[in-house]
Symmetry: D2
Subunit: 240 residues, 4 copies
């Protein structure tokens, strides 16, 4: 069991009726449901303690004690990346390096948190076209792919295309095929310090992506994978 | 300038009229032409000394002195992988570890040489469908992508699909999109010992893939990239 | 809980009194004890079902059904690598690619099994000097380092020095310092197919290395880490 | 030939007589000499156009036009990392992602520029002990090791020890052995965007490390390696 915090910008859902129709309680609520917030027994992994946090909460809902108690943080943001304070970015980065898992979703590729940890622009190509995406499992041995078939098909998505300006992933789990002719590395694993980071592409606010059973399964698998493992001490500084 | 040896199984072209129509002098001759065997000045890199070798030559055209003088070896094979002798595979492996570059083409994924160096089955999915492939440059900073646009489009190809059972590439340069709905990691860089290895997917014998200008450019870039660099001594064994 | 098979060449212990004095029941028995073969409750992880196999058993103790039931295979060999049959090497490789974990110990770097999976010579430098080795944890966040301090100190070991002719590890957990002046990448993680591979340097037959508490902890951690995870299907071949 | 800019904090040399005795014209001048600033023909590679820049120059000597013309930037800093402006760090990062090579030296591990590109703390252990360091070539096939023997020995250095909180290097070229008992990954290669980054450990201000012939050779090799290669366009944003 992990202590999971789902962070959502939570602006589109309150500003745009079309988005509100898809995610009436916010994307964070739908993700919480996917992770089985209710505490019912999961048949495919441990239950989690779930909390949510949003941009407009004090300290964006991520004061030090919340992050201290968080094993895995999920991050969804889009239109207000610049409003996230540097203090919170510093804090998230530090916790990841100490071991907290981080799952960055969709347009979160441009979040300060992800760019800080990657060291690159995290830019990509995109098109709002609402056509099919098929995510191929390129690493079937990876636990994030547990329980999936050879691919996941999403009938209507926004397109993200290469190049994706990130460091070469430690391990690439998914690559997306788009009906319009593009490809994208859509499931990328990294480690930074003691923390595990997973970038997962699906999740545009205008489509009910987080209602998809396979996507929900990936989110659960990713939380399990990103949960901190015990290691050895991280000791720095002057030695005798 | 590099000493380049192009190895071709050279059976399809002699057995099958359709293939002979595409590659009348053998795939190796077309690749040699792509690398500018005639010695004319290249405007995009150094000239090379080119030789070719085929399965039915004595020692498959790869006796020790030929490999000793080879800086970069290209490998195309398909229907007769099993006829390649273990002695020649041993020799090629040893030369790669010493620094010789190796470029494995298309169905060469199943060659003994490639499987030996990868340690995996190198299996994949495929379909003979003759539809469009688009190779996206996912690593625009890589010298193998020099001079290309954001993608290469091949109107008629055989499809190769994921999963591709190879070790995670050191660097992934191309990912293919197929009209039929699949993706494939179609340009994969590895180093083994002091040698550089590049797997490049395009090249089915029934389509004139090696006549394509962009594909030819990739072959030239790959030869330049795989040419051995000087390093430090590889010294093994007992120390004083 | 994992089904663990410990493979030992088991020749030195029967041929050499000095080695027999250190490992009277064979290195495999000592490793089995380290993994808590007796079934007593471990305080630092799950119990395992342990079996052992040796070179002189029929099929080296690794017939298909044994490998089929093995989650993690440990491998110790030294003087008789060449006596291991190709059929058994094929079988072990196949099982690793399917997901079986493999832990290669000390002089097992030169085993056919490890060389097959690495694709390189796996050569290194060495000296029989019986001086101190200190294994530094370079990746404190890795679960194989769980419960260790910042380093492991072994007062008397054989020295292994760089260069070590293996592919760049996916993740380097330990680097050894030797009193005589050398360094070595002594804990290397790889994935091949769906299987996890860990090379761990310590373990010369003339020193009671596998009695060391920290070394035993690493072995237990490595078994936990190498235990197969569920993933997605590995489907290859022709598609419709 | 590359356009090389050597950036030096240049404070210790002006504030501390002991350092001034070692580097009377500044560390940058000694490095420039190592790279053959005078323009004489090098026998081991191309000449370079060298310029130097220091912290107390306007814009730290790195206005946009200087960076625009720089192929490879070397960076040495220690006591005044915090005085480097964010604007210059932004600019250096952007240029690296566009393709500029970056060589970070010794205590530059804690520079804003390196931490920005790595996404980690870049922390380590250290001890001012003035004893021997031996840098082992762990990747003899790497061009940065060209012309070296199996190791470089420096009789008096500051010690840096693991853990080193950086992302797993793309390629590890050197690992240091320290007389006092530690090890360190002392030559680490990364790519970020289109730029190549090399971290090289030697270079404490109180020892004449940059006068050492092998160290100078590594600096020259590293500049050659980090010089930008041509690739494909980096095109981001909305697609039709």
């Amino acid at each position: 069991m992990a202590d999971v915090t789902i962070w959502n910008e939570y602006r589109h859902e309150r500003e745009d009726d079309d988005v509100a129709a898809v995610y009436p309680d916010g994307i964070h609520a739908t993700i919480a449901d996917a992770l089985d917030a209710g505490g019912a027994d999961r048949d495919d992994g441990p239950d989690h303690e779930i909390r949510t946090a949003t941009l407009d909460d004090p300290e964006h809902g991520l004061p030090p004690d919340v992050l201290e108690e968080t094993d895995v943080l999920l991050w969804w943001g889009h239109e207000a990346h610049d409003e996230v304070s540097e203090a919170v970015v510093d804090r998230v980065q530090q916790r990841v390096l100490e071991g907290m898992g981080l799952i960055v979703l969709h347009s979160g590729h441009y979040s300060k948190v992800f760019k800080r940890l990657m060291g690159t622009t995290c830019s990509l190509q995109y098109r709002e076209d609402g056509r099919t995406e098929r995510l191929w499992v390129v690493d079937p041995g990876h636990p994030i792919a547990d329980g999936l078939d050879e691919s996941i098909e999403l009938p209507r998505t926004e397109m993200y295309g290469e190049p994706f300006d990130v460091p070469e992933p430690d391990r690439l789990v998914f690559t997306s095929w788009f009906e319009g002719g593009e490809v994208f590395r859509s499931g990328c694993c990294y480690r930074r310090g003691s923390g595990r980071i997973f970038y997962f592409r699906p999740g545009h606010e205008e489509y009910p992506i987080y209602e998809d059973d396979d996507v929900r399964r990936v989110l659960r698998n990713a939380v399990d994978w990103a949960t901190p493992r015990e290691g050895a001490p991280r000791t720095f500084g002057e030695r005798d």
